[in-house]
Symmetry: C2
DNA sequence: TCAATTACGCTACTGCAGTATCGTAAAAGG
DNA sequence: CCTTTTACGATACTGCAGTAGCGTAATTGA
């Protein structure tokens, strides 16, 4: 398995990601300078580019790395599940600087590889939301003519729309409003 | 009105915008280089920066300039109006390179002034959609508990979500699906 | 005519992402 | 031991956005 030549320094990746994390925490995407990260990690810039093809790919790797997957356990209350999921996504987005999301989206649009990575980041959550929506539909909470995939877009899309386009705040209340708009007002049991 | 010193060269703005338009048409936001635009317009780079504070502001001015306002005339068929509006927005977005939208969103997140300009660009359309949605609600096509503003987000947000996040295509069919999802299947008269 | 004021062009600069080149270090295989 | 192979560090470079400084052109007011 190990090739012929000099082996890769296994410490590089960790040191670079740590340095990058420290830099991006204070100042977002722009403030992260490849030169500074390399110096901070004690690594040559060229070595850094041997691991990640671009700044965007480094940032995606960084986020993938930081991200702790919170596995979602569906209960038998689809409405509650959906509310919780959307609230979590809203809170995560609200806690992330808009510039970071926007810059990643821009990089994703430019570089196909980054696009794939970003989509892979969201795939799991997207699946979770879709599953819960489908379950809600089975439970009769959603009209039959609605496609679950489209409904997911109509729940999550507005969050990005607010964050990236209108600039309106992402509040927990807005998340609840989105759910209500789709599922109707809550009925007392 | 005219100040004391040397008057501004009134031709600069037009020449720069024309040069910028020519550059951005082939290659998008990235390919637009301020240096090249300045040279092409026969204008010093510093003069260019005296008119627009950043590349993003120049691009916003460019788009504002190119944009021909298609005034929307509402009929007495809210569903038809809404379908038409969303279809138009979808077609416009689909025809615009994703990188341009994403880069503008990124610039808007970074520079407040650009954010205002971008939002001003969309304000008119946003108002038009909101008005039609409100009319649809009066006509009984939308349930009462739904807020028009939120419904607009749920119609337009998914378009940006697809364009910037999931990368899925923006087809006319998708626009129709969005409408159906919100207003229900079309009822034959 | 002359000073003040404002705009312009020009040159030079910083910091940035990304690339190319080259010498050298560390491993494997002969 | 020696060659091959791969990784690394260092330096230097390009093109970019944006800024600073300066000399000069064009206008107004005295």
């Amino acid at each position: 398995m190990a090739g012929r030549g000099r082996p890769r320094d296994t410490g590089v990746e960790g040191r670079v990601l740590a340095a990058a994390a420290a830099e991006i925490r204070q100042g977002g995407y722009d403030a992260l300078s490849i030169d500074r990260v390399a110096e901070r990690a004690g690594v040559a810039k060229t070595t850094l580019y041997r691991r990640w093809a671009s700044k965007a790919e480094l940032v995606v790797a960084l986020i993938t790395n930081l991200r702790e997957e919170v596995p979602f356990e569906p209960t038998d209350d689809p409405r509650g599940d959906l509310t919780k999921l959307v609230a979590t996504i809203t809170a995560n987005l609200a806690a992330t600087p808009a510039t970071l999301i926007a810059d990643l989206a821009a990089a994703a649009a430019r570089e196909p590889r980054v696009g794939e990575s970003v989509r892979a980041l969201w795939a799991e959550r997207h699946r979770a939301v879709t599953a819960v929506v489908a379950k809600a539909q089975e439970a009769g909470l959603v009209l039959d003519h609605v496609s679950p995939a489209v409904l997911v877009d109509q729940l999550v899309g507005p969050l990005y729309y607010r964050l990236l386009v209108t600039g309106e705040p992402l509040t927990p209340d807005y998340a609840r409003t989105l759910i209500r708009s789709v599922l109707g007002p809550e009925e007392p049991r």
